[in-house]
Symmetry: C2
């Protein structure tokens, strides 16, 4: 039986390349947290240099030689026609490394450079267009990016839709023809639910969440929750940044950021839990596989499932707040001492259509994603023009959410993704929501006292379960296989829909 | 006339390598400021990877090809035997790049790796030995390092002393045979001065500096001074670290750190001014030459001259405090409102033999350096054994400073340098002191109202003078030539000695 020992030369080389990518990640972290403004231009050069070296090494003749000993480089098939010759891990490592390698080889260097240049330009213009609330400023840049993304699809290759080639970079193996019916069925369940919410006689109120909350205490409470979740501060830290994110340089150094609004408890609170969920995944990857696909997260959808599971299934649950609300009241006595748990619970679970995706509740969030998925798919497939995006946006907002933005900055200019060239990214958010509830449901089955433990503030059994069932496997199994191994079935949106139905019932007393 | 335009391919390659080194510097900065403890091992791997790539590229066949078009790689001489063929900057760039290249080529990769391994080990043991106050724990590691440093001298080559080869890595072109008489003459002037101080009837008192000072206000006052010095916070920042340092990733991102003792004003105050002086040099390097020797600092001695000039010639001067003392009193009214300027001025200029180099005053500091220079030179030349270092240390402490450490942690274990393999580094501190006063003296000549300006809090004319006379030149001129261009003569210790004599006279009223 051939094992990872056989592949030592390959894994050492992968590790060396990973150190370069990790160094680039440190530079990006610094860029978003502490870098003085004057350093931006030099930082872009440093990052481009490191990313260029990592890319070149990854597609170097050395890598080709290492892989071609064991793999048919054209098909990715193992040589020797004998699956049994390799153990599970080695087979997975070769499969996934080849996947990365062949993906990296497909894009010509000239194309990568053009894309970098155009997205860097588009990002600058997007910032300005958003500030000036003027989509037409951004339009021609978006056109250029879309042309390039279509070119990218051609390089990557696809059988059904050019959109698939882009989706695949974030959610390996997933196709638009799977997402579309999934999202349609979701729409069919969510829209009637939203209608119920709209007609509810006694909706909860959330004003109490938007009075003044001392920023340092917000951070302090967030730390308390993160520690309870099992986020290891000796292998991580939390800093402030404009947009919250999680980054990992190694399972021993996984950092999160947050942003704090003095007049808004949810941003830092649920943001910290959300990023903490991401961070538990990265801290839970097996360090002995670091640098190889076995030590990497599986897909953006699975990553998002971890953040959403903690943010929503745990962080917006009654069980969680039975334990933590008294501590929150203690932290903010002026604001909360006279508020009861039920009122607070209603406030953090209020469902209300809004214009901005990142501020949306658990239910309407997915409508924001559906809209973006439909638009970006049509654009990449050539069925929607760039100048038609704002009207397509508004008409779908009207249909799905019943509201229409008055400003383009609150419409198609609100997200960075398209300016960044990240087409095919949005669906992973909703996939994450679906997976999160399916996983949490399974955890409740396997850990019968899970909710009791959460009510006691003991979140570690859940963390341990996620570590063992999901985190430690890295990319050993394809997503579908992992989901089946963990939950006994493929992705099934009914868990998420039932979760929403119960939440609506509970909060809106219908 | 051949210009930098001719060398474009070379400078582009140098720039690419510099981006890698700058990335490594960002990682080191993070290591000392924000990295969680768990991340240390992965960080060491990331750093080793980046440094290895930068080194390999620097000695690559590509570099050899680029240089050998213009230079005889064996001697460093320009081809074509025609100095006039190149302009000043191109000539300097080729001269210094060849210097770096031939230095880098001299050390076998195997040796570099052994050295890295042994110093990394020695550093760990040194930390433990210092904590346990036990030199004998560290002895065998120091022996190994010294053997390796002798091996390094052989690789690097020397004509007089193996110590010269090491000194040259920090202070290019300088030899022990120049340092030794210079330091001897310094000793002959400083020891009688110290004797005078000892016998002074009314020495100043410095207790007032060691009452409690609010850390946040210490930082705030430091920022005020740094801004007045012209340190550009949009191209830099100040953070906390265990040991203060300055690091530069590009002239647009030059960062300093400090440490704060609640019960000790001098550390953060003079530390900030000191690092600010270093940072002005790095921010003052010409960005258009970034990546090449023309955009690099000249030597450690010249770098230290900039920090010491600001810390001592400015920061310990009466003129400076005439302006800043009222602000300091305002910042710390409880501690200082009843203290007069003369008392404060005496306190910050107190001369008093002490055991620890980094806490020493302007005069005795150099005796600490002399002692280290003599010991490390003897050790490298084979005239002193490793187990004789503590007794050599103590007997010289007795002779020079009149005090002897009771603990080895306050003796030869106090500095990190030897554990780190940095033999030949110490003399640059005293060279910096000598240069600093020689430069400041010249500035006073050329800017007749300099002290008046400083008294008004206007430090920018001095910064501008240093920018124009020293910073912007990078490594265009060898040190001796720069010093001659700036001051009209070579290094001359008499300026420093006269400065000390006047200070002693003023403070000790003798």
């Amino acid at each position: 039986m051939k094992t990872l020992e056989t592949l030592k030369e390959l894994t050492s080389f992968l590790l060396e390349i990973q150190h370069i990518s990790s160094a680039a990640a440190v530079l990006s972290w610094d860029q978003e947290t502490y870098m003085p403004p004057g350093g931006a231009e030099a930082r872009a050069d440093q990052l481009a240099t490191l990313q260029g070296i990592a890319h070149q090494q990854f597609i170097s003749p050395k890598m080709e030689n290492l892989l071609s000993q064991w793999i048919d480089l054209k098909t990715g098939a193992l040589l020797e026609n004998a699956d049994e010759a390799w153990d599970l891990q080695s087979k997975a490592l070769l499969r996934e490394t080849w996947r990365d390698y062949s993906k990296a080889k497909k894009l010509p260097l000239d194309f990568v450079k053009r894309m970098e240049k155009e997205t860097s330009l588009a990002l600058q213009v997007w910032v300005e267009a958003r500030e000036k609330n003027n989509y037409s400023l951004f339009k021609s840049h978006l056109s250029t990016i879309i042309k390039l993304k279509k070119e990218e699809s051609d390089y990557r290759g696809y059988t059904e839709s050019p959109y698939d080639a882009l989706l695949d970079t974030y959610e390996p193996g997933t196709k638009a023809s799977q997402i579309a019916p999934l999202f349609d069925s979701l729409k069919k369940s969510i829209l009637p639910l939203l209608e119920k919410v709209r007609q509810a006689a006694h909706p909860p109120k959330d004003e109490i969440l938007f009075v003044s909350y001392q920023p340092d205490r917000q951070l302090e409470f967030g730390h308390k929750v993160l520690k309870a979740m099992g986020y290891d501060f000796s292998r991580g830290r939390q800093d402030l940044s404009h947009h919250p994110f999680t980054t990992s340089f190694h399972p021993t150094d996984v950092r999160i950021t947050t942003r704090i609004f003095e007049k808004g408890l949810p941003s830092a609170l649920f943001g910290s839990i959300h990023e903490g969920g991401h961070a538990l995944y990265d801290q839970g990857l097996d360090p002995k596989f670091f640098g190889t696909p076995l030590g990497e997260f599986l897909s953006l959808g699975i990553h998002e499932s971890q953040s959403r599971l903690w943010e929503n299934c745990v962080g917006r649950s009654k069980s969680f707040w039975k334990f933590f609300f008294p501590y929150l009241q203690n932290t903010f006595p002026d604001q909360l001492s006279k508020i009861d748990l039920q009122t607070f619970y209603g406030a953090i679970n209020l469902i209300k259509p809004s214009l901005i995706r990142v501020e949306a509740d658990e239910l309407t969030y997915n409508l924001h994603i559906l809209l973006r998925f439909e638009i970006e798919k049509e654009v990449i497939e050539g069925n929607l023009e760039v100048n038609e995006i704002p009207s397509a946006w508004n008409s779908r907002m009207k249909t799905y959410l019943g509201i229409v933005p008055e400003k383009e900055s609150e419409g198609p200019l609100q997200d960075i993704h398209w300016a960044h060239g990240s087409f095919g990214y949005f669906p992973t958010y909703t996939l994450g929501n679906l997976y999160s509830v399916q996983f949490f449901n399974q955890a409740k089955k396997e850990l019968p006292d899970l909710l009791d433990q959460i009510e006691k503030g003991n979140l570690l059994p859940l963390k341990k379960w996620l570590n063992q069932k999901i985190h430690c496997w890295g990319r050993t199994f394809p997503t579908e296989e992992l989901v089946r191994r963990v939950t006994g079935e493929p992705l099934n949106p009914s868990y998420f829909i039932r979760y929403l139905e119960e939440k609506v019932k509970e909060i809106y007393h219908d």
